[in-house]
């Protein structure tokens, strides 16, 4: 196997983006898979020879990522997100339908070689669930009828119709304009007009302004951005890197995608000025591989920016050089963790590093590195343009700036809404007409995952809290990446716990023992419960496994992974106990859990012997 001349030329161009050949491993494998349809032994050997690696090194990396296939697939790969939000919108039925219609198992190629259907984990299309991708292209709000059209050979492309935010959004000021991705549209809205000015500012001044703005990381941890930047060592002669984390994968979160797909130049301008602020010359934007469309949009925008002189050498005559490279991942939630992302960018399995050292000191290629989320970096030009005081005033104390809130699940108007950080309460976000507009008709709210699947669940009496880092911490949960998932009374909390635990088990990188083994064990116990084989002692065991994982893992994934089970058991234990008593789910006998309990009181159960 060899690359076609066009792909070889593309590969050679990609290779120039990295100081270390191995970094090109994911792009090379993507190119190879695009050409061959899958990665055969010979293809792995070919890629290894191009990168001067052993085949074992390439396969070690390749087999870590779910987007790579090691057997032939159908011409059209239908991927259905069956994570929580999408499954609330009927995604599991889509998979069953497609498989039944094709007469195949999941992952199996149809007899005519045309289709392969697989489940995928959260695609960051939670509002547009059930989300499907066909050969990487979006088919959001997918119905069985849509799927039938695809299976009939039609090309169906549909993106979620994002509702617009009330007021005057800032981060989303361009996102819904016509031709929002083009450089002209961005410039017409004032984009790049102050770039030259900002590049003349001293890096320290910019960092000082970012510190003053109270900007905190939007990726989940909420760490003050200016403080993080100031951890770069002053006397290290090595090059520095800015890495933008666009690996948006936290179930419930679909905000960075909006910037990547609808307003790429906003991010590029932010990358240029931030790279300068860090005294760096190189910025990598690491975009999750599933964002096939986002990657292409960003790549096109980067080319436009180079052509316009906003990227490259001596930008706008300032003497400042900045390169921005788009790097696509290949399917691994863990790569959202900053050290795992760095490993992945270096061409390795996306597994976290032990800390210390922290990336600011020893990061990409062993050099000082700052990793920031897309939304975080996008805030930097706003701080410079409107001043840190303005920025800080958009939010609450210690929580500066505008914020993108994602909401999905059983609400009337799922979407990604911009407002000031903490200027909305969880209750308003769910019920206010400006936001999600309340729970779908005929149902009552049961549970809220406030900030993405890794954040402990809240109950309907815990909603009067400001949606900022401190507000949610006070409520015993986390703002995380602000991916709110709403669960109404039709849904079993054991199902919720199982869905999310399946996700964590599927995405656990496998590096450290507690997470690798614990997530699988929890899933086994939850499945046992759903099959009606659970025992009361299993509930205690689940609780203990959470303890065995909590605080003992290499990265925060372990604590994230236990959130659904731990908070589920804490707040919804009667539902788990019902499963034990009645050998299975209450959804078989009733529309709500309360109804099921009442029926149980009258002796009406299914499965009880």
């Amino acid at each position: 196997m060899e690359f076609t001349p066009e792909r070889k030329a593309k590969f050679d161009e990609i290779l120039k983006r990295y100081p270390v050949k191995r970094s090109a491993i994911l792009p090379a494998l993507h190119l190879a898979q695009e050409q061959e349809g899958w990665l055969s032994k010979e293809t792995i050997q070919y890629v290894a020879s191009l990168l001067e690696l052993t085949p074992a090194q390439v396969h070690d990396t390749a087999s870590y990522y779910v987007m790579f296939r090691f057997q032939p697939f159908g011409e059209r790969h239908i991927e259905v997100c069956t994570n929580l939000s999408c499954s609330l919108y009927g995604a599991d039925e889509l998979v069953e339908h497609a498989c039944k219609k094709l007469g195949v198992q999941e992952g199996e190629r149809s007899a005519d070689g045309k289709f392969t259907v697989t489940r995928v984990e959260c695609l960051a299309a939670c509002g547009g669930g059930a989300a499907v991708q066909v050969n990487g292209e979006w088919l959001e709000n997918c119905t069985i009828a849509d799927l039938d059209r695809v299976l009939a050979g039609e090309h169906v492309h549909r993106k979620f119709d994002w509702p617009q935010s009330a007021g005057t959004p800032v981060l989303l000021r361009n996102a819904f304009k016509k031709d929002s991705t083009s450089i002209e549209t961005f410039k017409a809205g004032g984009g790049y007009s102050k770039l030259g000015e900002w590049l003349k500012m001293s890096p320290d001044d910019i960092i000082e302004q970012v510190k003053k703005s109270n900007l905190r990381g939007r990726g989940g941890a909420g760490f003050p951005t200016g403080l993080k930047w100031s951890f770069l060592p002053k006397d290290n002669p090595k090059p520095r890197y800015l890495v933008v984390n666009a690996d948006e994968s936290e179930p419930g979160t679909y905000k960075d995608r909006l910037i990547l797909e609808n307003d790429p130049h906003q991010l590029i301008e932010a990358c240029i000025v931030s790279t300068h602020a860090l005294r760096s010359k190189t910025c990598y934007i690491y975009i999750r591989g599933e964002f096939w469309e986002g990657i292409r949009t960003m790549e096109r925008a980067v080319r436009e920016a180079y052509a316009a002189g906003y990227l490259g050498q001596n930008i706008l005559g300032t003497g400042i050089d900045v390169d921005v490279f788009v790097h696509g991942g290949a399917g691994a939630y863990e790569c959202g963790e900053e050290t795992a992302l760095i490993e992945s960018l270096e061409g390795k399995r996306g597994q976290p590093r032990i800390k210390p050292p922290f990336p600011a000191v020893v990061g990409l290629y062993g050099c000082p590195t700052i990793v920031n989320n897309v939304e975080t970096i996008s805030c930097v030009p706003l701080i410079l343009e409107r001043g840190p005081e303005w920025f800080a005033a958009q939010g609450t104390e210690k929580n500066g700036g505008p914020k993108l809130y994602c909401i999905s699940g059983h609400v009337k108007r799922p979407g990604t809404y911009e407002t000031g950080m903490g200027k909305v309460t969880l209750r308003e976000l769910i019920y206010d007409e400006k936001y999600a507009g309340g729970i779908r008709d005929g149902h009552k709210l049961k549970a809220v995952i406030p900030g993405g699947s890794s954040t402990p669940m809240l109950t309907p009496d815990e909603l009067d809290i400001p949606m900022d880092f401190d507000g949610l911490a006070k409520a015993g949960s986390m703002l995380g990446s602000a991916g709110t998932i709403i669960i109404d009374d039709s849904t079993s909390m054991v199902f919720v716990a199982r869905k999310l635990t399946y996700f964590y088990k599927h995405e656990s990188c496998g590096k450290c023992t507690p997470c690798r083994e614990g997530t699988g064990w929890m899933l086994r116990l939850l499945e046992k419960l759903e099959r009606g084989l659970g025992q009361m002692k299993d509930l205690d065991l689940l609780w203990k496994i959470c303890d065995s994982i909590s605080g003992k893992t290499v990265c925060p994934f372990g604590d994230a992974a236990i959130a659904p089970v731990q908070s589920g058991l804490k707040k919804f234990r009667p539902e788990f106990e019902y499963y034990v008593r009645n050998k299975g789910s209450w959804t078989r006998v009733a529309k709500t859990f309360e109804e099921a309990l009442a029926k149980e009181g009258q002796g009406q159960t299914v499965g009880a012997s």
Binding site: T54, G510, E517, W521, K544
Partner: protein, 531 residues
Amino acid sequence: MPKFTIDGKELEVAAGTTVIQAASAAGIDIPHFCWHPDLPVDGNCRMCLVEVEKAPKLQIACNTQVTEGMVVHTSSPKAAEAHRTTLELLLINHPIDCPVCDQAGECYLQDQYMDHGLHDAQVEIEHKVHKRKVANLGPIMLDAERCVLCSRCLRFEREVTGTNLLEFKNRGNRTEITTFDGGPITHEYAGNLADVCPVGALLSHDFRFKMRVWFLEQTESVCGGCSTGCNTWIDARDGEVQRIRPRRNVEVNKSWICDPGRMLYKQFHVPERLTGARAKRGANWEGVALEAAIDELAAKLGEAGSASAFVATPQASNEDLFAFKALAEAQGGQLDFRVGNPQDKLHVRIDEVLQRADRNPNTQGCIDLGMGKDGVDAILVACRAGAVKALVLQGPELLRAAEAADAIAKVPFVAVMATHEEPALALAHLVLPAALWVEADGTYTNYQRRVQRAKKAVPAPGDAKPRFELALGLLRRRGHALAVVSARDLFVTLAKSVPDYTNLDYKALGFGGRALATAPERAGASAPAGA
């Protein structure tokens, strides 16, 4: 030099020392799987969690550097509970097949279960994740189900050999160790993979199903395979060596040895071993008692006087060499050891890991003891001239040298000390059976000029004797008896007369050896002030 407290003990350690290193040096055992003293820290097993006062959560001892005033508890209730639960998690997918596993008896999982686990299994066998078993990787047998995914083997392949033949496949709890497409391990350090594996996932193909390890007796030794002088353990049962393993010495071989060295034991107990002396009677060989053979050689030496020559072997220990040299000197004969000029290859590496081109363990000892006196060529010239009446070979090297054959043929009496039968011995008139390096106490000086001690691990077969004993017997018969009874005495005696060895004894050597100044260092030391 921070001071800290660990389990109530106050210790002072070098800056940068990690808690697990400090504990290990102080004899405090912190359970672990992935940490290995000679591999980079990876911190993945989470077994070494310890409680550090004032830290919000448990810390891994392998990646926590000691700081001034730190207080560490390795078995507080919190730490002990973490050890117990981590072990439980490691075992949920493990097949628990100790009865058929070769690792049993030297398995971290087994040992730590006894020390820290002792829980009842809560997972049924049929619910475990199944992976590849009984995979033949050439020198290594792989059982992926027993693997704890500690990555020691991968780190070994990456950092030590640079071969990168092993990989992790898949992720999460489906991760398994394998080679690309199941291919074999093709480098000469494969045995170390089985050594670094803390469990029964990577096992030595050679040792497979051979023996339970608790029947083995371990003896400290030094490899006789090349001038590197790797420190080894000789594992034997009932006088027979069953395997050779590396013995850690940071200065020499860290925790590794090469496969050729590991396999040397295969030549120990073979039919070709010489177990008795023999003498040529006309065209035929006749078996003779060892004492009678020594008597005969002593008589020939008596007749030859200074018309004798001695060729030492760099295979021999310093003790062997010293006694042999004493014999040559008593006799007034010529002496050398440089058949094939091994000293030229003393420092030449044949790979980037351990092996050196000089396949003798003691060329440096020969140099230090002054065995290179007259030159092999000069000896051969003398032989050809008929000036050598008795030639004593400490090993068979000269007999193998085709260019020496005509010279040897001119010598009326050639005696050779040898360990194995070989065709070249036909050129000799008397063959004395010699013990191997594992069958005698002795010291060897490696390429770094490090004097290291090997202990007798198994008895020599039949009449075979250490070369120094053969030489001492000859000296006694020639009236030059040395006042020594053991290898230890010989070492003390030789240390007094060899430059730089002065004052060395077994105690000073220990089992890690003692480095002597190398030639350039000595030159530097004698350089004039201000140079």
